[in-house]
């Protein structure tokens, strides 16, 4: 009997230990995002201590997770009743899935930094920015930037950075090979690019590098084919719609063939030629920063990954990726300039107090000089009128700004409308192409089939 009593008591103790984990989380500002209940209740609420409002922030710009953490810590110092928890993600790793599972489980983040495609996908859940709830946006942001964040006539994304991509080149190496200041505007045809590569290779330096990831080749390179169809966003989306309907085959577009010919050139001189699919981002960045290769098909966000490294080159610029031998063709002398990410606020799984707090926090982040400084320190170019003008951007962003001032940019608006698993699937096809597993006809067939299968 005594033994039975003892064992029952033990069971009770163990069971009660189970429930200690369900106690109120007091000092840690985090963890609330993962402990929420079913979809109807908001992800946090105020706890009994006072009016501390807890917000969650989902970030897809993985290279600056730390920046956001510091920013939120600072914001909490200024506003002790607002605590923002960062939900970080890794570069290229399951960001879409994470966001979807957050919403599916009822833990939708209060506000987030996402691709424009996500803004379109989730538009029913998002807060519309109006002059009433976000006056700072309309007062300080550049008009074109606000327009980029407008979908179906509603401003649902707040812009924060302008980025670009193209063929990055290492100024020190290239100037050395050319024996003087190299002029990037001389690269305006594929033949010019070919001569450029051959000159660099003759000097004993690997000419270029491709990062063998599906987002780089499918999301960035292949999208050039759609975007260069015409200067308006609808040119690109119209082209894709025709492929979806089956009235256009991608291989019939000379732009596609042109970009693939240029890709063959890049593959030929690819620094990663021996093993093109390793796709270790840190490794490729390091190799480029150390000057092991002259050019790299990547964007100016690379600088944020390089800035912490030691003993690296710091001067870079952009060359366009030409697709034909006619210098006046749209796309041969331009680089891509895009507002790649937007800040948006969710109203479907967060209550009014949280939405209001998020709007205020966003306003501080984007238009308050102290908030902006965090972004500027990382080298981001913010499209706001009140940004301090004495800032010296890193060489990559400067190069993009230079192309923009000359009006030589490719409008990548159609990229926002490429949703779902488009760039993973088409990117995988591109990877098969650069590693020689399929030929161009099969690549085109695969792309056509993919778009036709998308609803």
């Amino acid at each position: 009997m005594k033994r039975v009593f003892m064992s029952l008591a033990l069971v009770l103790v163990i069971v009660s230990l189970l429930f200690t984990g369900c106690g109120k989380s007091s000092e840690t500002p985090g963890g609330t995002g993962t402990n929420a209940g079913p979809s109807s209740s908001p992800s946090t609420g105020s706890d009994s201590k006072g009016e501390v409002i807890k917000l969650t922030y989902f970030n897809t710009s993985a290279e600056v997770n730390e920046m956001f953490e510091k920013m939120f810590a600072r914001y909490n110092e200024i506003n002790p009743n607002v605590v923002i928890e960062l939900i970080p993600t890794g570069i290229g790793e399951g960001q879409q899935e994470k966001l979807q599972s957050l919403f599916a489980s009822g833990n939708g983040p209060t506000f987030m930094n996402v691709d424009p495609a996500n803004v379109i996908e989730y538009q029913d859940r998002l807060v519309e920015f109006t002059k009433d709830n976000a006056p700072w946006l309309f007062e300080y942001a550049n008009e074109s930037a606000v327009e980029a964040g407008t979908f179906d006539g509603k401003v649902m994304g707040a812009p924060w950075s302008v980025q670009g991509y193209g063929l990055l080149y290492n100024k020190r190496i290239v100037n050395q090979v050319y024996g003087g200041q190299f002029d990037p505007t001389t690269i305006n045809t594929r033949d010019a690019l070919k001569a450029f590569f051959e000159k660099i290779e003759a000097a004993g330096i690997p000419a270029t590098m491709l990062h063998g990831a599906n987002w780089s080749l499918g999301g960035h390179y292949l999208t050039l084919t759609y975007a260069v169809q015409g200067p308006a966003t609808s040119d690109g989306t119209g082209f894709i719609d025709k492929i979806k309907a089956g009235t256009q085959k991608i291989e019939d577009s000379p732009i596609f063939q042109g970009y693939m010919d240029t890709l063959d050139l890049l593959v030929k001189y690819n620094y990663n030629k021996a093993d093109p699919l390793v796709a270790d981002f840190n490794q490729d960045i390091l190799a480029f920063a150390q000057g092991k290769v002259a050019t790299f098909f990547m964007g100016d966000w690379s600088w944020t990954s390089m800035v912490g490294l030691e003993n690296i080159d710091t001067e870079y610029g952009f060359i366009p990726v030409p697709w034909s031998n006619n210098p006046s063709d749209y796309g041969n002398t331009e680089v891509v300039m895009v507002l790649p990410k937007f800040q948006c606020i969710d109203k479907s799984q967060n209550n009014e107090a949280q939405v209001k707090a998020a709007l205020d926090a966003l306003g501080w982040m984007l238009t308050d000089p102290e908030g902006q400084q965090f972004f500027l320190d990382q080298g981001f170019c913010m499209p706001y009128k009140n940004v301090r003008t004495d800032i010296e951007y890193n060489s990559m962003t400067q190069s993009i700004a230079d192309y923009a001032s000359r009006g030589k940019t490719i409008n990548l608006g159609c990229f926002s409308y490429i949703t779902g698993d488009a760039w993973t699937q088409t990117g995988n096809l591109m990877l098969m192409y650069i590693s020689g597993a399929i030929d161009r006809q099969q690549l085109a067939q695969g792309i056509n089939d993919y778009w036709k299968s998308v609803k």
């Binding site: 029952l8 069971v11 069971v15 189970l18 790793e93 399951g94 879409q96 899935e97 979807q100 599972s101 919403f103 599916a104 996908e121 989730y122 029913d124 599906n214 021996a274 093993d275 093109p276 699919l277 390793v278 796709a279 270790d280 779902g420 698993d421 993973t424 699937q425 990117g427 995988n428 096809l429 990877l431 098969m432 590693s435 597993a437």
Partner: protein, 294 residues
Amino acid sequence: MVSKKKSLSNAGFFITFMGPSLIAFTCVLMIPFLYGVFLTFTNYNPIKGTKDFVGLENFLAIFTDKEFLTQFLKTLRYVFYSTIFCNILAFILAYILTSNIKARNFLRSGFFTPNLIGGIILGYIWKFIFANVVTKVGHTLEIESLKTSLLTHPDRAILAMIIVTVWQYAGYLMMIYIAGFVGINKEVLEAADIDGAKGFKKLFYVTIPSMVPSFIICFFITISRGFMAYDLNLALTNGAPYGSTRLASMHIYQKAFQANQYALGQAEAIVLFIVVAIVAVTQVLLTKRYEVEA
């Protein structure tokens, strides 16, 4: 009277000890599972918020999803090879480590440690090793096939996954086999020795038949874990190269969360569950026949 009291107190014990686990099991496993089965008959999409009844449409769609079939066959291949090699290696290790060699306990813990490293970290470590260390070895020793990372070719990437799986689970299974070895009836072994059975004969006719329960457990573990493999898949290859090593679980995940076809993904998951259940149960029933009473 007495039996009624006894059955009540029995029930009381049952509820006290099994209750919490049963509640947790029902909430975390049973209810979501049943809800999932219900969802396969709808066109559920949490982003768009739809949940209309569509009957068997999702199950029919599985047949048109060619990728599911190829990935499933790949998973079968992966499970087959990893089970065989894992168990052979674990058995050999257990055999060696139950004989009297020096540092036996140290070696036992040593071989078990890989299992303690979680699948994700393991995947990243091995990814680095395959991409950098193995390729360096290939370059210095001039071995052509090792000069490029094992992870960048579709067939060799599966091989890489098998290698890492074997490395991870051999120690765990070894522990089970050691317990099996130690639990063999000493009298039967002595009788075999007296009868003149030596070495391999003793192994095949006495040791292995006595170890059948261990085999049942180990095969069951490797098969079911193999089918469900996801964390290692994600960290080591993430479907690379170009989606060819997306094993069944990852393919389902991709279908549901990346292609936004939730109901189809759920239907495929149910199919996976049925197949794994059939395979596992068949395996247990078949091998149970070989159990001997010492």
